[in-house]
Amino acid sequence: MVKTFGEFLIFMQSMLVRKERLAVLWQRMLDEAILIGIDSVFIVSIVSAFIGAVTCVQIAYNLINPLIPKSTIGFMVREMTILELAPTITSIVLAGKVGSSIAGGLGTMRITEQVDALEVMGINSASYLVLPKIVAAMLMFPLLVILAMVLSILGGYLAGTLSGAMSAQEYVEGIRTDFVPYNIVFALIKSVVFAFLVSAISSYKGYYTKGGALEVGAASTGAVTNSIIAILLADYVLAAVLL
């Protein structure tokens, strides 16, 4: 465990020495941003819209006390999605999608000697392959989380009004009650941290794959499980420190 963590740190450090030209890394970063960001919009949209809808319906189901105003539903949907569901669930979904593709891609490059081919050309493969992925993830995760926030609140709105649990006016009133802008900042900080964890852990798992196709699959699985555990641990630590 300690040894693995040490190796992980050495891996992170090796990315930062002997870097390629900035123009090359920038181009690589843009390519990765498309893979990580644009290609995840669909799944993130679906998941967050449904999470918003389900949250709204379930809160409405539990709030049968007539003394509590219906706008509370909107308020609670907002608090839950912005603070926790949007950043954390989105990152867990991305750990599955992005993490497995990073680990699988790097693992395949390793076992088919593509990583060695880069090294023989005198290219620092860690910096060329991994650094752009991590930077791209740290840029794209927050954007996807903002999208998730918007869509889950919208999902809650649609579910709430269509099912007749409350009126549109009540929902909007709830959304606007006691709004704390810092919560959005906090959620974005979380998403950047999660992005780093997912991309770095998955890269580490993929980059050091040894063996054949079986090990590439194992590296992908390991990347996803380890990323999710890291996300949940970090979620707890950040909540304890920053809230």
């Binding site: 002997r18 090359v24 593509q114 023989v120 050309m121 005198g122």
Partner: protein
Amino acid sequence: MIEVHNIQKSFNGNPVLKGITCTFETGKCNLLLGGSGTGKSVLLQCIVGLMKPDLGSITFDGLVFTNNKVDIKQEIRRKIGMLFQGGALFDSMTVFENTEFPLKMLTPEMSKEERRDRVEFCLKRVGLENAGTKMPSEISGGMKKRVGIARAIAPNCTYLFCDEPNSGLDPATSIKIDELIYEITHEYGITTVVITHDMNSVVEIGDHIIYLHKGQKLWDGNKDEILNTTVPELKEFIFSSSLVRAAKKVDEETEGGLAAATSDEAINI
């Protein structure tokens, strides 16, 4: 010329290379011959710097590679081209982009047009002038090796390393790839090192042959001398190959010497 001096390497206390000293001559096809698991790939990886030997030194035309400053290593690396066992093409790039890649990375001063001309020249040289837009997943094993060769020679490499260029190829394609490597070596005066366990390659392209057995160099010489060797392990290796067995059969029928049997007509059986 590449000089390898007393290279030793062990994994977890298990010695794989036990002090290998040899030279690879300029402008020649140098073969590293030996059975599977004798440490040929490990030696090659030590030479190109993918692995650090425990002991020993490697010199490229007088420049020491092992334990040297990063810039000198980098300078040597830029002169190295390598053909990997499976081709190791970047599978997100087309054949053209694969060949262009080292130029883009290593010679940023080259203009786009110069790069395109060079890539087209190299692809033509390996006989793939029409495959530039194909993806690696769409081409055959032999074509992958050709692209690998084109990518290796694109930046005008001084040293070319090939790890089992024949593995996974049918005999006819193997011979074509061997010939291509041989021609390119002599055309551009490259110092070429080819790993093989194939006697076909030995008689075909072996300008200089180094025989490895269990992590030691037991013999070196050229393809004419190898059949008269007195080293028992090498003799056994040669006679276990189907080519030589077939040649020997003809030999017994025609009552010629072994060396005579490996003349061109015997090889063509």
